[in-house]
C-alpha cells in the first residue's frame, strides 16, 4: 500500500470526523465534490451534514468557524488555495487569534491552506503565506513536510484548543508517498532531525525539506555531512533543537520557499544569533524565494524558489567559508 501526502490529509480528516462529533469541514466545493484537490473525497457521503459547501466568502467562512468554535465545535476550514486566505485574513488574525486572549474562551479552529508553488501555478495559486500568520500572536502555524506529519499534525491541529493555520504543500500532495500512516508522532512544537550531519545545520520546513535532503547528497559527494532540521511548526518555533544542532555543526543555513523579507529564515537566524552566537563558526545564511511574485512559466518558477541545486550551492559556499 502506498499513501500520498494528500491521502494522509484526507485520512486525518476522516479520522477526526469519526472520532470527534465536534469536528466538521467547511469550504468551497468540499462536499459531494470532495474539494479542489480531493482532500475531502467521500467524506460528505460518509459524514452527512458535517462536510459543508461554502459560498465564495472566505471572511464569512472563518467567521462562522469562530462562532462554531465558541459553541464547542472544532471546525476545519479548507481554503481552496492559501492565496485566497488573504480575503479571510481579518477574521483569522484579528478575530480567531485574539479571542482566547481577550475573553478566555479558546478558539479551536483549523484552517487548511493548500500552499506553495507548483509548475504553472502562477502568482495567485502558489503562495507560501506562513510568515504573515506567524507574525500575529495567538496562532499556531504548522508546515508539515512528510506524509506522516501531514497526518499526525493535522489530527493534532484539530485537537489543539487554539487556531491553527495548517500549511499543506501542494507540491507534496502527489509527489510524496509513504507505506503506511503513523501511529504516533513527535509532539507539536518539536522540530525533527530529518538527516544527521556534523558540518552544517540546515533549518527548513515543508517542501523545502526535500530539496535540502537532495542537496545534502550533493554535499556528501563533496565530503560534507549536512544536518537537516525540519521545523514542522514554525510558530511556536523549536529554538532548542535548532541551537542543539548548531552546537554540533557550527554552521547555519536557513532555507524557505516564502519571500525573503522577514520570514521564517530571518526569525531562526535572529534566535540562533541571540541565543547561541558563540556556537557559530561562520555567518549564518539564508536562502529564500526571490522577492517577486511567483512566476507562471516553469523555467521562471524553478529559478524563483530554492531547489536542490541552489541549496547545494549555498551549502557548499557556506561550508567553505
Amino acid at each position: 500500500m502506498s499513501i500520498t501526502y494528500l491521502d494522509a490529509i484526507r485520512e486525518a480528516q476522516d479520522r477526526a470526523l469519526k472520532d470527534d462529533p465536534r469536528v466538521f469541514i467547511y469550504g468551497q466545493d468540499v462536499g459531494a465534490f470532495g474539494g479542489a484537490f480531493k482532500a475531502t473525497k467521500n467524506l460528505a457521503a460518509k459524514y452527512p451534514g458535517r462536510v459543508i459547501d461554502a459560498p465564495i466568502s472566505e471572511d464569512a467562512m472563518v467567521g462562522a468557524a469562530i462562532g462554531a468554535a465558541i459553541e464547542g465545535m472544532r471546525p476545519i476550514i479548507e481554503m481552496q488555495f492559501a492565496d485566497f486566505s488573504t480575503v479571510g485574513f481579518n477574521q483569522m488574525v484579528n478575530h480567531a487569534a485574539t479571542l482566547y486572549w481577550r475573553t478566555g474562551v479558546p478558539c479551536p479552529i483549523t484552517i487548511r491552506l493548500p500552499s506553495g508553488g507548483t509548475s504553472g501555478g502562477g502568482p495567485f495559486h502558489s503562495q507560501s503565506l506562513e510568515t504573515i500568520y506567524a507574525h500575529f500572536p495567538g496562532i499556531v502555524v504548522m508546515t508539515p513536510a512528510t506524509v506522516e506529519d501531514a497526518y499526525g499534525m493535522l489530527l493534532s491541529a484539530v485537537a489543539i484548543d487554539d487556531p491553527v493555520i495548517f500549511c499543506e504543500h501542494k507540491y507534496l500532495y502527489y509527489h510524496l508517498k509513504a507505506s503506511s500512516l503513523p501511529t504516533e508522532s513527535l509532539p507539536i512544537g518539536k522540530a525533527r532531525i530529518a538527516r544527521q550531519g556534523r558540518d552544517l545545520t540546515v533549518v527548513t520546513y515543508s517542501a523545502m525539506v526535500h530539496e535540502c535532503l537532495a542537496a545534502a547528497e550533493v554535499a556528501r559527494d563533496e565530503g560534507y555531512e549536512v544536518e537537516i532540521v525540519d521545523l514542522r511548526t514554525i510558530k511556536p518555533l523549536d529554538t532548542d533543537t535548532v541551537v542543539a544542532s548548531v552546537a554540533r555543526t557550527g554552521r547555519l543555513l536557513c532555507v524557505g520557499e516564502a519571500w525573503p523579507w522577514g520570514g521564517v529564515s530571518a526569525e531562526v537566524i535572529a534566535r540562533v544569533t541571540a541565543e547561541a552566537f558563540d556556537l557559530l563558526d561562520a555567518p549564518p545564511q539564508r536562502l529564500n524565494a526571490k522577492d517577486t511574485p511567483v512566476p507562471y512559466h516553469p523555467n521562471l518558477w524553478a529559478a524563483h524558489r530554492p531547489t536542490a541545486q541552489s541549496v547545494a550551492q549555498s551549502m557548499l559556499r557556506l561550508l567553505r567559508l
Binding site: 466568502s57 464569512a60 478575530h95
Partner: protein
C-alpha cells in the same frame, strides 16, 4: 399604535405589550443614564480611549434586547448599551471594561464597547465593522449541527455605515444560504462618523437589500419604542419559527457625537429638526404617561434609583485595583505546551 394581535385575547395582548414596553423603557433609561455618566467620566479624564454612546438609539436597541431570550445569541455594536442591559449584561461589566478593571470580562485587555461573554451568548465585538455577523451565523450553524438550535435566534446589530463592508455582505449571504434564524438589525442613524448616507449607499432604504439575500425585510421608525417592539417581535418570532433570516432597518438620528471626542457639528440641522431627530426616550415617556402605564413620578423615581445604582457601581469599580503588568501571563495561546518562550520579546 398597538400591535394587532399578540395573543387570542386582545386584552391579554395589550397587557403583554404594556409590560414589554415598560421593561424596554427601563433599559432605555438605564442605558441613557449610564451613557451620560460614562460621558462625564470621559470629560473628567477618567477613561482611557474612546466613549461611544447610544443616545437616540435606545428604543431600537432595548426593543431588540427585550425580544431576545436567554439562550439566544446577541452581537451588539457600539451603540447598544440598552440592548445589552435588556439581554442581561450587568452594568458592572460595562463600567469595568470602560475603566479597565481587571475584574471585568475583558480583564483590562480590551476596552469600552469591546466587551462580552461569548459563553453566555453575548459576543464581544472586534472593531472591524461587519465581522460579528458571520460569527453569529457560525454559532447558529453549530447549534443546528448539535441538534440544540431549538427556537433560539441570533441577533446582530450594525450601523448603516457598516453595511458597506464586505464582511456584512458575505455574512448575510451565508445566513440566507443556510437559512439561519438570524435577526440583522441596522440602525440607520444617518451618519457613519461624519459620513452622511448619500456617501455610504445609493438606495433609498437599505431594506431593499433584504430580498437579495433571501431575508424578510422590515422597516421601522427607530425613534418609536412601540413600533420598534412590534416590528422586532415580529421579526424575532419569524426567525424563531423557522421563517429564515430577518432584516430590520430603523431610520433614526445619532443624538451625540460619533464618540465623546466628537462635537458632531457636521450633523445637518434639518435632520435634527425632522422626525428622525426626536428623542426616543422622551417619546417613550410621553406614551407611558399618556397610556397611564407609568406616572411622571414613577419615572422620576426610576431615574433616581438607576442613577444611585450606577453611581454606586462606578464607586465600586473605581476602588478596584488597576491591572498589574507583571502578573500578566503575556500569552496569547491557551495551549500551555505551545507557548513559545524565546520569541524575541525579551533579551535572551
Amino acid at each position: 399604535m398597538l400591535p394587532t394581535a399578540v395573543s387570542n385575547d386582545p386584552l391579554a395582548g395589550v397587557a403583554e405589550f404594556r409590560d414589554q414596553f415598560i421593561r424596554a423603557y427601563r433599559f432605555m433609561l438605564h442605558a441613557r443614564l449610564l451613557d451620560e455618566r460614562l460621558a462625564s467620566l470621559y470629560r473628567s479624564g477618567k477613561i482611557f480611549g474612546g466613549v461611544f454612546l447610544g443616545r437616540g438609539q435606545e428604543a431600537l436597541s432595548a426593543g431588540l434586547g427585550v425580544c431576545l431570550r436567554q439562550g439566544d445569541v446577541f452581537a451588539p455594536l457600539i451603540r447598544d448599551a440598552a440592548g445589552r442591559l435588556a439581554f442581561g449584561e450587568h452594568m458592572i461589566d460595562s463600567i469595568r471594561t470602560y475603566l479597565g478593571s481587571p475584574l471585568g470580562p475583558m480583564r483590562s485587555r480590551d476596552g469600552n464597547v469591546h466587551r462580552g461573554r461569548p459563553k453566555e451568548g453575548l459576543l464581544p465585538m472586534i472593531s472591524h465593522l461587519g465581522a460579528m455577523i458571520s460569527v453569529v451565523n457560525g454559532m447558529l450553524m453549530a447549534r443546528r449541527m448539535q441538534k440544540r438550535l431549538g427556537t433560539s435566534v441570533g441577533a446582530a446589530c450594525l450601523g448603516e455605515g457598516g453595511t458597506s463592508t464586505g464582511a456584512f455582505h458575505e455574512a448575510l449571504n451565508q445566513a440566507g444560504v443556510e437559512r439561519l434564524p438570524l435577526v440583522m438589525v441596522i440602525a440607520n442613524n444617518q451618519y457613519a462618523y461624519s459620513t452622511p448616507t448619500n456617501r455610504q449607499f445609493a438606495c433609498d432604504n437599505l431594506v431593499e437589500r433584504a430580498a437579495g439575500y433571501g431575508f424578510d425585510g422590515h422597516t421601522v421608525d427607530g425613534t418609536d419604542l412601540g413600533e420598534c417592539l412590534e416590528t422586532l417581535q415580529k421579526a424575532v418570532d419569524n426567525a424563531r419559527s423557522g421563517r429564515g433570516p430577518q432584516m430590520i432597518v430603523a431610520p433614526l438620528l445619532r443624538l451625540c457625537g460619533h464618540g465623546e471626542h466628537d462635537d458632531s457639528s457636521y450633523i445637518d440641522p434639518r435632520l435634527k429638526q425632522s422626525e428622525l431627530g426626536r428623542d426616543c426616550l422622551e417619546i417613550a415617556e410621553q406614551r407611558l404617561v399618556a397610556e397611564g402605564w407609568l406616572s411622571g413620578e414613577e419615572i422620576g423615581r426610576s431615574r433616581s434609583e438607576l442613577l444611585a445604582a450606577i453611581d454606586e457601581t462606578i464607586s465600586t469599580v473605581q476602588r478596584e485595583s488597576a491591572p498589574n503588568a507583571s502578573a500578566e501571563s503575556w500569552q496569547a495561546l491557551s495551549t500551555v505546551s505551545l507557548r513559545d518562550m524565546s520569541s524575541g520579546t525579551e533579551m535572551a
